[in-house]
């Protein structure tokens, strides 16, 4: 009997100490983590919309050059220069091989050509699927038309005009990304085209 009580007491004590420690660490770093995430988001926006900095801070550029607009499909970030709307960017999310993949895509308007492509979040295999975050891979998307189908071709197939080459050894990640880019983007494109007409 005594042993059973001891087991419960020890397990309870260890778990409590652990929970308190983690709560403390989490509280201490929560703000930094949120700030990191926001900063990464704004940096990605500025990068995919090709906004030139001239030494201005990220915050400043975001305030002056980007306008947030709520569309039925979700939030769209417009790159504005006075009255002109030069481009639009939005976040696309979908399942990857191990976990969700989020990407930020920027397009020039009104031709819907990709002006920038950044990975916001991914948990793919390091060295394989995670290579979707490498510059060589990302820059393949530049100038591709987002309002048409973009196919990520597996090695050996010859990529067409609107296609990009997949990462060797990461077929599932590449195909998931292809699905995200085409399927998740189409409601955004439709909303943008609609608001353009209206």
């Amino acid at each position: 009997m005594r042993e059973k009580v001891l087991i419960v007491v020890v397990l309870f004590a260890v778990s409590t100490v652990s929970a308190l420690m983690l709560a403390g660490v989490n509280a201490a770093s929560k703000d930094v983590i949120i700030k990191n995430r926001e900063r990464a988001f704004k940096e990605a926006l500025i990068s995919v919309l090709e906004i030139k900095g001239d030494g201005q801070t990220i915050e400043n550029l975001y305030e002056t050059k980007i306008k947030e607009q709520k569309l039925p499909a979700g939030n769209v970030y417009l790159s504005v220069d006075g009255e002109n709307i030069k481009g639009a960017a939005f976040k696309l999310t979908g399942p990857g091989f191990w976990g969700p993949i989020s990407v930020m895509v920027g397009v020039t308007l009104p031709d819907y050509k990709i002006s920038g492509f950044e990975i916001l979040e991914q948990g793919e295999t390091p060295g394989l699927g995670a290579r979707i975050d490498e510059v060589e891979f990302k820059k393949q998307f530049l100038a591709k038309k987002l309002d048409e189908v973009i196919i990520i071709k597996v090695k050996g197939e010859k990529p067409g005009i609107n296609d990009v080459s997949a990462i060797t050894g990461a077929t599932i990640t590449s195909k998931s990304l292809e699905k995200i880019i085409n399927e998740a983007a189409s409601p955004f494109i439709e909303s943008l085209k609609e608001s353009d007409r209206g």
């Binding site: 001891l6 087991i7 260890v14 983690l22 660490v25 930094v32 983590i33 948990g123 390091p126």
Partner: protein, 192 residues
């Protein structure tokens, strides 16, 4: 005392001699930078959990010792994960999913059970440090072969020129099996 520290590096090397923690070894050694981050994280968790287990060794009931070790190990791993997210977001983005898997690295549970649960804190600390260094040393050796052959680079610096056709097998876990097997073979032959 000195022996406790040193034997973890060569004689009782966790990867090459005990063949433990192979899952993470195969997964992260395709790049030197990933290996370094993984080594630091695992060594920190090893030291933290071995010290805690050693301090608590006389109070943990035998029947639930594994459960207690798991809670302790998981706590340190989550601390590492949060720390990376807050201060090294770039590394966290790259090896994020593997940080959580440190919990299941059997080297850590192995040291808690085989050493820390029966020894005083200071020897346990030395043992954890030695094994951590041994693990880091193995990851570095493996990735120093795999990254050049698979990507043509070492720690991101190009070491093999354009003439080198990257050997995809080396990037994937089977390549790690091959290199690991050769290292184990060499180490066994040398130490005979």
């Amino acid at each position: 005392m000195k022996n406790i520290l040193i034997r973890g590096i060569i004689r009782d090397n966790p990867t090459f001699r005990m063949v433990l923690g192979i899952c993470s070894t195969l997964a992260v050694t395709n790049r030197v930078s990933n290996s370094i981050a993984m080594s630091l994280g695992t060594t920190f968790v090893l030291i933290g959990s071995s010290l805690s287990v050693s301090l608590l060794r006389n109070y943990i009931p035998r029947k639930v010792r594994m459960a207690v070790y798991t809670v302790i190990i998981a706590t340190f791993v989550v601390v590492v994960d949060i720390y990376l997210k807050a201060f090294y977001p770039v590394i966290s983005k790259q090896i994020g999913p593997y940080v959580g898997l440190i919990i299941t690295n059997c080297i850590i549970m192995g040291r808690a059970e085989a050493f820390a649960s029966a020894n005083k804190p200071f020897p346990s600390f030395l043992d954890a440090l030695g094994v951590g260094l041994g693990y880091s040393f193995s990851l570095l050796l493996l990735s120093s072969i795999r990254e050049p052959l698979g990507f043509g680079s070492w720690l991101g610096y190009v070491v093999l020129g354009d003439w080198w056709e990257p050997w995809v097998l080396m990037v994937m876990p089977p390549g790690a099996f091959l290199v690991l097997g050769i290292y184990i073979w060499i180490l066994r032959t040398v130490s005979k």
